[in-house]
Symmetry: none
Subunit: 213 residues, 4 copies
DNA sequence: CATGAATGAGCGTTCATTCAT
DNA sequence: CATGAATGAACGCTCATTCAT
């Protein structure tokens, strides 16, 4: 049987996915046409549809990767001290936001916003929410359990707030451009604020060396 | 006097605008078709185009109102004490976010995100940014000038951070639903955080009665 | 009875007609909208339709004037010597062609060409043909009867040829611009050619002073 | 080999082009709708747009053929004596004019006249002018270089005059019908006139057998 | 496995003309 | 007499997806 090896199939899938990624980044979700993706991939319509059922599947697979990376960014701070782990995570998000329009984040935001009425996209939306929220919460909770953080507010509420802020920073970065919104300054403000609720009393705010950048 | 009175014309304009508003809220910007709007308004294509040049103008006029209301929300705290004025503003935004999917905010976010590559929409984007940022900054600055706020961080940076957070809260509210993201809790967290950077040292955080809700 | 005087009505009609003329010259027949004409006339839709049943009637009345002027250009040479009368006529046409895009001629050509399939426009087309042809023919025939012209070819054929040439010169003037097609040179060539068939043998062609410019 | 052969694609392109040609001839350029062309071709909208980007491209490709044929008509007289070559060319144009309303010429004239204000069509207009003018000029110049023609007027001027006349003859043929304007007679007149300026003194005009019909 | 030609409902917008006031 | 708001059929064009080869 001429069954193509698994790796060959995977390679083709990957090729197509990367081509789709380039097109999505360049044009956005709605504006990207299957014709564009087919052309960018150097394949035929049939060839692309053979591996992915439609434009949405293509995007969903692509975005799955982003989630996985995001999660890894939130984990990984196994041995690290809690406040340094938070700092790492925030710095990582900062870098992503600064590079927002080269990544898939704007496309995801577009996809979520445009599709907010569609039953089918709800699932993904929920999953994204839980994944990001969970990652942040774990970060905070492990610090609290270690006794480093002594939050006067439930960590769930703090995690949700951080998540909102990050989403907002991304949104602003996307629509206004990273330079216009002074990402570094915002990052500093967030750090100070977070410290004040996570470690109240400690190093009364403004210390330079304590900031996790 | 066959010329229809100005008030009648305004009434018709308003009718059409409200019909368009209902359609945009129901379907979103991209998914709303002129056919929908024409049907909802109970008029003809020509009748609608007589008052508004195209779909975008219809939306822009609609969104202009939202801006005006937002500004009014940020102003108005003339005689109020600074921290109470901030509280009022935040509470107002909270209410808006809680009601996000009944308003035009999701449509605006969609319009901005989808149109991020289009030269023409950039202008609106910039204007929105400046208006919202300006409103928040004025609020903080007047408190600082009054000596009530003693921020250890430039107010511009704080204003931008608040703006990001609000955008994020709206975004989350839109895509995940207000109930899922515990708006009240987030609001409390933001309050505490803001106080710690605006009035450091004062009432070491957690006091209940001091919070401006 | 408040019957408005005939002259008042005529004045209004004329106002509208001139406004329409300006719009047609500026935009062409198809591209001119009734909205344009109404705006240019400073009146209302109703006001314009009260005097003219539709766009076509407006144009037809306008074009009637041009015909009348054209005819007058062809007549008028009563006392003049035949060859001078021909020269006058040709010079007049030259001037019109040179000024083609400021006049209604392009609009007429457009109207005729576009409407060549419409029964209703046929009539006008026929009338124009007969009027122009008749004018030229009379010019030639009176010279022949006076014995000044001794055409070796039937004057009808010559008249038709002149007419074709003039139409072509107009057409070229309209689409390529008068400067590109060297109207003066063409005019000279036509003069020489015409002389050779109207007055064969006389002043073997190239004489300068004999040319009717 | 699922890729359809080049010849098949060409055949389809040709099918569509011919269908468009029939519609254009029947209705004219402006009045022809894509719906008409789609119906005439027996295909779908998508099917037509797959091969031609828009109505204008369809027309331009069609008209390209006419130019090519025109040029061939003007060339080709390589070995022939100059006056015969001119005769051949004129006869060819006569035939075309006689058949004007079965061809695309009226559509081209309409396209040029209606589009005289549009920047984009200007290019085509210029190209047409240069191509036709160039063809006629070459015809005359080669006769002059051979010494057969001894024009007393610059050949450029004569070429432009001939071009104008031909355009006029076409125009008249289109709007008034070929029979009404006695094409044969006009052709004879043009021949006589042309001879008188190209070969002055020779065979003092009226000879029958010398005329190149 | 792979191709790419083909589909067709749907889009936003225009404009000559009418007629209630 | 005069107004101008209102009509609605028709326009050129797009694009995710299918399926005969």
């Amino acid at each position: 049987m001429p069954k193509v090896s698994e790796t060959r199939k995977d390679a083709v899938r990957n090729d197509i996915l990367e081509a789709a990624g380039r097109v999505f980044k360049r044009k956005g979700y709605e504006a990207a046409s299957m014709k564009d993706i087919v052309a960018e991939s150097g394949r035929s319509f049939g060839g692309v549809y053979l591996y992915y059922a439609n434009k949405e599947q293509l995007f969903l697979e692509l975005i799955g990767r982003v989630y996985r990376e995001m999660n890894e960014s939130a984990e990984g701070g196994e041995g690290t001290a809690p406040w340094e782990a938070v700092g790492r995570f925030l710095r990582d998000q900062l870098a992503r936001a600064a590079d927002a329009d080269n990544g898939l984040a704007p496309v995801l935001y577009e996809y979520l916003i445009v599709g907010r009425k569609e039953e089918r996209r709800m699932k993904l939306i929920g999953e994204r929410h839980d994944a990001v929220f969970g990652a942040i919460e774990r970060l905070l909770r492990s610090g609290a359990e270690a006794g480093t953080f002594r939050p006067t507010i439930p960590v769930e509420a703090i995690a949700l707030t951080v998540m909102s802020f990050l989403d907002g920073m991304f949104f602003e970065s996307i629509v206004s451009g990273p330079e216009r919104i002074r990402l570094d300054d915002q990052f500093r403000v967030l750090s100070d604020m977070l410290r004040s609720v996570l470690m109240p009393g400690e190093a009364s705010a403004v210390t330079e060396e304590g900031n996790p950048e």
